[in-house]
């Protein structure tokens, strides 16, 4: 035996010398961060939404990084302002891919912006650039040909508007008017209301629009009077918090106190903030009979683990931006982290679609389970209805008081 020890040691020694560099190559680089590109409105009329989404996402990624990252890789969130306009969003996307060499795109804000960015995803197909959980309920990234490049968590506007229409019809409010933003977002919501009413053999009785970027201080009187002429039972608004608050003000000032509904993108807290402030100024309550549909549960419901974690992280970051939107950002981020975690140590961008579609009935802490994989369903795909109580949007328990 001793006779063979020397050559054996030599062999092991040689093996180690040769193997080390080889094994070193095969091992993944643990220290390179996962770069995440996010384009949203940080300035302009819808800046609150961008800021809310950002803070909601950031608290998650910071926490993950604090705990060592995903499989040792830190998450680097890079955000660029697009002012809620399509051209800057396109420029940001190009910059993310070509300059920053992002691994994925995340939580882009808005319908007109995302709709224009989608063809770029096809363009960057070879680089396997995917868009995760854009903050828009519009159809373009949910249907072919672009749905293969995007993953959606939230319910679509179609679901929100159809849901609202169903609820209104149930309480006998059949004359429904639409107030919408004159662009792809507004048109998307409008389309949803139209389809929803068509299911009941009805159509929109009046519609009026406004230009994207309009401020609360602007007059929406002409639109309001036009809608009023048709004597609606309810108005569904597909707009920004500034314009929707403006419409509510006009309708109430014209003496109409019917139901006005807004969808999730409006930014409920920002809407409420404007109405309360103005109401205080003129001594009037503008917060009655407002119903907002949401795509995430209430961030006040501390029975939900995700809510508790959200509130904990928000407090730790000393942020006051408690809102449905920032909670949605939180949930988006948590889901992304789960997906990245699932991707394993050897994170491969081209494998992402498979990883995502493998996530079924997953619990992110809101009791409702999320399931990816169905092409026509959104992973969360649930609509929640809220109304104002004590200057807060709370879940609706009963619709009976609005029965016509």
């Amino acid at each position: 035996m001793k006779k063979h020890l020397k050559p054996l040691l030599l062999l092991i020694f040689l093996f180690l010398i040769i193997a080390a560099p080889i094994t070193a190559k095969v091992k993944p680089k643990r220290k390179k961060p996962i770069v995440i590109g996010m384009s949203a409105a940080l300035t302009g009329a819808s800046k609150n939404l961008g800021k809310d989404l950002y803070i909601g996402s950031k608290i998650v990624f910071d926490e993950v990084n604090r705990l060592g990252g995903v499989h040792g890789r830190k998450l680097k969130l890079k955000i660029l302002d697009d002012r809620y306009n399509p051209l800057p969003a396109v420029k940001n996307t190009v910059s993310f891919v070509e300059k920053d060499d992002v691994d994925l795109l995340y939580c882009f804000m808005g319908t007109p912006t995302v709709t224009r960015v989608l063809p770029l995803l096809k363009r960057y197909q070879e680089k396997n650039i995917y868009l995760f959980f854009p903050f828009t309920g519009a159809q373009p990234q949910r249907v072919p040909p672009y749905n293969q490049f995007a993953f959606n968590l939230r319910a679509s506007y179609l679901q929100e508007t159809k849901g609202l229409v169903s609820q209104f019809i149930k309480i006998k409010r059949k004359r429904i008017a639409v107030f919408y933003q004159s662009d792809a977002y507004g048109r998307s919501g409008w389309s949803g209301v139209k389809k929803g009413l068509a299911d009941y053999g009805r159509s929109i009785i009046a519609e009026a629009s406004y230009v994207r970027g309009a401020g609360f201080d602007q007059s929406f009187k002409e639109a309001a009077e036009y809608l009023l002429k048709q004597k609606p039972d309810a108005i569904i608004s597909i707009g920004s918090y500034q314009a929707c608050a403006g419409l509510i003000r006009e309708m109430r000032d014209l003496g109409w106190d019917g139901l006005i509904a807004n969808i999730s993108f409006v930014g409920s807290e920002s809407l409420l903030g404007l109405l309360v402030k103005y109401g205080k100024k003129v001594g009037k309550d503008y917060t009655k009979n407002i119903i907002n549909s949401q795509v995430v549960p209430s961030y006040e419901d501390t029975s939900l683990p995700a809510v508790r974690e959200y509130r904990k992280l928000m407090a730790r970051n000393k942020s006051k931006r408690y809102s449905y939107v920032s909670f949605e950002g939180f949930l988006n981020a948590k889901t992304l982290v789960a997906i990245l975690d699932q991707s394993g140590k050897w994170f491969n961008k081209s494998a992402l679609p498979q990883v995502v579609s493998s996530i079924k009935e997953y619990d992110i802490g809101i009791k409702d389970l999320i399931s990816f994989g169905s092409p026509d369903k959104n992973a969360l795909g649930k609509v929640y209805y809220t109304t104002v109580k004590n200057n807060k949007f709370v879940p609706i328990k009963s619709w009976s008081k609005w029965k016509k």
């Binding site: 373009p140 662009d183 048109r187 639109a223």
Partner: protein, 506 residues
């Protein structure tokens, strides 16, 4: 002020031309610009509509409304001049548009007939007035012959008008600036003309009042003008200066000539008085006889003469009348010579024919200019009353009796003096009766003309003599002369008139 009138006229014309240019350019420009820009807008709208119609097929059939809306917004935002874009589906419902807050009613009504056509191949392009948008060029294009839907593109014409106004405004401003500039240049140039013109006018005024003894002060300034500019003005100025200088010279000449003439005239007057003083003085009374002579030269001095002289030692009077060819100074000088010769030779030579012959010879020697003189020479014997006479080419005298008989003395066949130096003259005799006058005259009497160019003639002369036969020589001569004058009327005396009358009273 003459200058401002010129400038006012220039300004008036300039403004007139400017206004005409402005109006015609404005009209032409606006019309051209409008039609061209409108065409461009139309083409732009057509290409937008066509583009949306083409991509709309796939979008409407396969995609959702928000994608169409996104496309519509893209075109609406990026292309200027688009007032609206609207897309309809196969059911003609508006599925995407840019109307805020809602589509105008007049537009929906306007589109009705277009979109309800069963199979539409082509675009419909028409103007429509929309509230809050003004005049819009609507371009409605079918998508897949209307089977998939329709697209409406509205082109806003208001920018066209503002472009036109801006362009015309700029153009008019440029024209105005050019106009102002040209007025200023015109003004400066006019002044450059007007000033010398004014100077020339002043010069002309001064010339009118000029005495032309020396060039005017202002001529120096005008000369400067000529040096400054080389154009029609300087030519005019030169002409003026020339005029003045010529006038000065001319007037100087005129003055010299006038004073020479005056000198000459005064000399002629002296010559006249010399000539008149050569005539015989009034003869002292010779018992039984009366003589009177009268001479009226046509000019200051004349070629006629008369003479008489008492030849004491022979108891006779010679009397003569002569008519030198021509008039004026040459005739007068020849006359003087003839008279002196006659006077001197008549006193020395007894024979009248010898006298005349010798006078003739002497005259011919001194006659470079070939003058001649007709002469009547008579010698009256005071005792006998017989006249021996010689007529050298002269008109025969009349014998006038106091009974009114008038008859001519016979000629002596003599030619005028100064022609043939060797001519021998002969005499004849005649008797001077009691109360008979011998009336000698020159052809100035008979050839005196009136305004009808009739001559006094022998008949009238004989009549006058006949009627006044009783008068004494002085009265007779004066009467004849008066009659000649009244006959001649206004016509000035053409030829010298000389008359000589000699009367025998006993």
């Amino acid at each position: 002020m003459k200058m401002s009138k010129l400038i006012r006229q220039m300004l008036g014309i300039s403004v007139g031309i400017f206004i005409f240019i402005v109006i015609s350019i404005s009209i032409f420009f606006s019309w051209t610009l409008y039609t061209n820009i409108m065409l461009e807008y139309q083409n732009k709208g057509i290409s937008v509509a066509q583009s949306i119609a083409d991509s709309g097929v796939d979008l409407i059939l396969n995609r959702d409304e928000s994608t169409i809306q996104s496309l519509v917004n893209q075109y609406y935002k990026n292309i200027n001049g688009v007032a609206y874009i609207a897309v309809r589906n196969s059911k003609r419902e508006l599925i995407s548009h840019t109307f805020v807050p809602y589509p105008p009613e007049e537009l929906s009504e306007f589109h009705e007939p277009i979109i309800n056509k069963r199979f539409s191949e082509s675009m419909t392009i028409q103007f429509i007035n929309v509230k809050n948008m003004g005049k819009v060029l609507d371009i409605s294009a079918p998508i897949l012959a209307g089977e998939v839907g329709f697209v409406h593109v509205g082109m806003d014409t208001r920018p066209i008008l503002s472009v036109i106004y801006k362009t015309i405004g700029k153009t008019l401003l440029i024209i105005l600036l050019i106009f102002i500039f040209s007025v200023i240049m015109n003004y400066i140039f006019m002044r450059r003309i007007a000033k010398p013109l004014q100077a020339l006018t002043e010069y002309a005024d001064k010339l009118a009042k000029h005495t032309f003894d020396a060039p005017l002060e202002i001529q120096k300034d005008i000369k400067l003008l000529v040096e400054v500019s080389k154009n029609e003005i300087s030519n005019l100025a030169n002409a003026f200066i020339n005029l003045e200088d010529q006038l000065i010279l001319y007037i100087k000449n005129l003055q010299e000539t006038t004073s020479a003439k005056e000198k000459m005239e005064s000399e002629l007057n002296i010559a006249r008085s010399i000539q008149m003083s050569m005539l015989p003085k009034l003869m002292k009374k010779i018992p039984g006889y009366e003589m009177y002579g009268y001479l009226s030269p046509a000019k200051e001095v004349g070629g006629d003469f008369y003479d008489y002289y008492l030849l004491k030692k022979r108891n006779s009077i010679y009397f003569a009348i002569g008519d030198v060819s021509g008039k004026g100074v040459p005739a007068a000088l020849f006359m003087a010579m003839t008279m002196m010769l006659l006077n001197s030779l008549a006193r020395q030579i007894d024979s009248p024919s010898a006298v005349i012959t010798e006078v003739n010879r002497e005259l011919c020697e001194r006659n470079e200019h070939s003058l001649f003189v007709t002469l009547f020479f008579g010698v009256l014997d005071l005792r006998t009353g017989m006249i021996e006479y010689c007529n050298a080419g002269h008109l025969p005298p009349y014998l006038v009796s106091d009974k009114g008989q008038v008859e001519e003395l016979a000629l002596t066949d003599g030619m005028a003096l100064g022609v043939d130096p060797d001519f021998e003259y002969e005499t004849k005799t005649a008797e001077l009766s009691k109360n008979t006058t011998v009336f000698v005259y020159s052809d100035g009497v008979t050839e005196a003309e009136n305004s009808a160019r009739e001559q006094f003639g022998h008949e009238l002369l004989e009549k006058v003599l006949k009627d006044n036969s009783k008068l004494n020589p002085k009265d007779l001569c004066e009467k004849v002369f008066t009659d000649i004058n009244s006959f001649a009327e206004e016509v000035p005396q053409f030829d010298d008139i000389s008359i000589l009358a000699l009367r025998k009273n006993i």
